[in-house]
Symmetry: C2
Subunit: 331 residues, 2 copies
């Protein structure tokens, strides 16, 4: 199939770029040094490529992601890097043989793990991003509570998400070190083998974590692309030009095909004006566009873009190689 035969908007993944991104990361962080985060792609076909690249364990953000990974035989070592109050669906996965480790950061979430019959947890530590995670000095106490109640505590996690885009890199390195020193101190109190942290923005310089939870590196977006990582843009939203006026043109890729929290998408060679539900209006610049032309739109943020689409199309340039379901959407 040719890309011109796809209904637009369509999520495209360049196979070669994806392959190279996965290989680059697997060379830097081989085997269990990387625990790929599936939230960035929500696609078990892509996760299978990551597993085949030598990474047996995965990070998930939702219970649904865990369920679908298990259903596709990818449930050998899943870390749900998020707190939940009802863990019963996770317990059901464990009973059926999956290995699920759940993040906990409070007495209440430890109680939820117990009620739900999850057997293994990590203590989630706040390392500077104001989100989930206990204060570092409370981690030991929570681990103790969890163990006293029969849970296996595998270690700690702490996400330095506020530092992913810090520049210059020397500032980032210093700030990541300060952040990770908190996590390492907590890990000493907690025990266990896991110190899970990091992301695509810090994978090169986070030497303190035993494993890195990167996800965006596989597909990339325009926000990460500005930071000079060795990953290529593999993700595009293919659109059809549906209207051309004197000073602007319109492509049928809109708010419902793009994560917008990082701002407007980009169109190489053109200037984006604004997005509507089903349109992006742009000044075509030097592009000579006609109604019916196909163009590629580069999303500003990969994760919420992918979550709008039923499928991604693996392509080699203009040739469509395969349809991959975005099968981990929803909750």
């Amino acid at each position: 199939m040719h890309v011109d035969d796809l209904v637009t908007p369509a999520l495209l993944v360049e196979r070669g770029a994806l392959r190279r991104n996965l290989d680059t990361m697997s060379a830097a962080l081989p085997g269990t040094r990387l625990r790929p985060h599936v939230k960035a792609h929500k696609c078990t076909s892509l996760a299978r490529w990551q597993r085949d690249n030598g990474h047996p364990g995965f990070t998930c953000a939702t219970i649904r992601e865990c369920e679908v990974m298990v259903e596709h035989g990818l449930g050998g070592d899943l870390l749900l890097a998020n707190e939940v109050v009802d863990a019963s669906r996770l317990g059901a996965l464990v009973r059926n043989g999956a290995r699920i480790t759940l993040a906990v950061d409070s007495r209440e979430t430890i109680a939820a793990a117990l009620r739900g019959n999850v057997l293994e947890v990590v203590i989630d530590v706040n390392v500077g991003l104001p989100r989930c995670g206990c204060p570092p000095e409370k981690a030991g106490e929570l681990a103790e509570l969890a163990r006293r109640n029969g849970l296996e505590v595998r270690g700690v996690m702490g996400y330095e998400g506020h530092l992913m885009m810090v520049r210059p890199e020397e500032d980032q390195r210093r700030m990541v070190r300060e952040s990770m020193e908190k996590l390492v101190a907590a890990a000493r109190e907690v025990g266990g083998e896991l110190v899970s942290a990091g992301g695509t923005g810090t994978y090169r310089l986070n030497e303190w974590a035993t494993e890195i939870q990167a996800g965006s590196y596989a597909l990339m977006d325009s926000a990460y692309a500005e930071l000079g990582h060795p990953f290529e843009q593999a993700l595009f939203v293919l659109g059809t030009v549906i209207s051309v006026s004197a000073d602007h043109a319109v492509v049928d890729v809109g708010l419902k095909a793009l994560g917008m929290d990082h701002g407007n998408p980009t169109i190489p060679g053109a200037q984006v004006w604004f997005c509507s539900d089903e349109h992006t209006t742009f000044a075509p610049g030097a592009l000579k566009l006609r109604v019916g032309d196909r163009i590629r739109v580069v999303p500003a943020h990969v994760d919420p873009t992918v979550a709008y689409h039923e499928a991604m199309w693996l392509v080699d340039g203009e040739q469509v190689a395969e349809r991959w379901a975005v099968d981990m959407r929803g909750w």
Copy 2:
């Protein structure tokens, strides 16, 4: 079922508020004066309520929306208020008895209507929003071209989307008049009975259109709520508080459950700090929150919020009345 039994995040629709919103709009714009836009809710169950309120025709933004409306017996008079380059799926609906009217704004989109065997069109006119639509002075010529090729031209459409949120209202009224005078002039050249325009932001003062394409009024969002319309917030995203710290709390409603192009959602009584993929971090203010509490998050923009969810739950306060599939997602 009680709302506490729902998996979160969950899209809630307050049945009473929805009922009143529909009735208020139907009283202001009865029968064919309103052509409800389904893009705001993407839900045939909700569209059926609109039809039962006396509105036989609907506005759609995508081919998929048309297909699903037809499949559910709601295809009596659908206006696809958007340009397409491949109209063959629409032609198939027409062949099976649906009435589909397609927007065209160029020779190319007229050719697409012909190739796809769509029988009826409206001329889409640019009334000031730089998006689709021909220049007003070209509308007559395009109508002539369409008719010469055998298409039925039902009239014009033109969306004054750039004026939905203008305040004070006297400025808005003047600007809408100027915008609609262009459309009315084009309509005189084009002929036909339809002058289709407007939205929730201008429904009260657009006296020039024969029909108004409003959609947001049914469910509402925080952006429209600020404008003083007589519609109530009917849409909420229910979340579970999963972490509570000294100065902030976290609810499991994130970027993938919220349209973010109008900015952060609101949490009544609290102050939202930021959203992550599966979290909103906020200062709880006077709310006394504990892990496990359920709270309602109000989206800033209704359309792209709904498009992330598989279903909406019709509720009466804490009681769940019905599950409505968001069955018009995708393309």
